[in-house]
Amino acid sequence: KQWYQRRVAITAGSERALKLTTDAIDLNTANYTVWHYRREILKALKCDLEDEFRFTAQVIESQPKSYQVWHHRRCLIQMTKDPSRELGLTESTLSDDAKNYHAWDHRQWVLEQYGLWDGEFDYIEMLLQRDLRNNSAWNHRYFVVNSTDKWNHETVKKELEYAAKYIRKAPNNESSWNYANGIIKKNKFSYDEFPEFIDFCIKLDEDKILSPFLYSTLADIYQASGKSKRAHELYEKLKECDSIREKYWIYKQNLL
């Protein structure tokens, strides 16, 4: 009987039922069934969703890591076709926690759906100026380039220069190295197509920069160009200075 009453309330849609879901969500934001019922009620009541956007923004403020509230937000946008608040919302969430996975996921979805790419590189730059170790921002840069451009030689060269700028500032920041190495490897280029980047790495080594990321990058570069002995020496160095990964460096040596 309870179940039946519930179904009637949902299909008829009632303000009281809506209020019940608000209370239930307050008790447990992760109750995905209640969020689903709420959407059904909102559709049945043909609500103006302006209030609903405000409501979800409040829930996100207090529970920014709930899958359900972010998904609900996405459903609202799909219902209203109105993404105008989302860049502001995600920017606000990310100013509290610059790596909130749901916020970045949501932002990416909105950008892709509605093509709101304008100003996105500036936003990433602002975040990296604030914290150049923000790996989510680096990942987002890859996403934006990937969505708006082609990974041809010119693009990779430009992005390598961008990464190099940040590597120089903090040679032990893994994010910038992962970006540089990743854009080459993921897009099936080879290091020898980017001599400026190779020279950049060699110069860092000559300047005696101590960075396991530099050494492993150089090892890959040397391996690719057949300089196995130099690569081997670098893996010896890595076994010393990055000993937590000793087994991996031995494995890489054996592949030479």
Partner: protein, 296 residues
Amino acid sequence: KQWYQRRVAITAGGNVNQLPHLATTYAAVSAVFSLDHEECYELINRENLKRFLLAMHNNDGSFTMHLDGEVDVRGAYCAAVVSTLCSIKSDEMFHNTAQWIAQCQTYEGGFGSRPGTEAHGGYTYCALAALILLGETRCINLPLLLDWACHRQMRFEGGFQGRTNKLVDGCYSFWQGGIFPLIHHILEGEKSTLDRSSWLFHQQALQEFILYCCQCPSGGLVDKPGKSRDFYHSCYCLSGLSLAQHSREKVVVGDAANLIKPTHPVFNVVLENVEKVLVWSASQSKTNGNKIVEND
């Protein structure tokens, strides 16, 4: 028993009277198969379960977590595990899934929740384990993945972080640590220089992190010192400990009595149970006239 039946048998949602959900389904099925009684296995309604998995599958290969719910790679993993253990897998159920998962691999080598999102330990584990269950591991960049995974172990703490430049967390002992037996499984198929006696991460350092830093003095395990205990961290810290101990040559930090049971790297169910389950469910599908699912 009736109470138990109600909770497990039909919907496998978060609770009775909730929508069925892939994660809770995975948890329920794993829990049932972690028990030692075949009569518990029979609580699972395989036909309903198959229908549910098919309903959650999307044309692009991805899985939705529940009706009108979110899509991410956890769905593919949950569906792959549950369908394999219950012998209800079909080509239709996983059409395009491997290709969709492959799109989740980022420039860093790990996998995100969906195509484009940041490489993350939990999602990477789900992606790789699902691909192994689907027999489709050739569509990914394995060297890039291995490099990323190896770099997730923290040189000071010994435990694993979930993403580059983030903090260590005990639960990644399993999500990240678990990637290594999976990679070994894939590489063993090829001629390789892999040292087969141990995993490619620092097993001792991980065990030390779990034992010294992740135990709550009153019992249970935690994310990191200062955090409170919960079942999730207790489960995944211990699962990670098990993997770190059970390479082909055992590695046991501390007392020999610290050795815990081996867990299956793909299902995360105690190893000795998995064989039993697969035999049981194969006989179920034989009884129903379905194709028997072969598993290695």
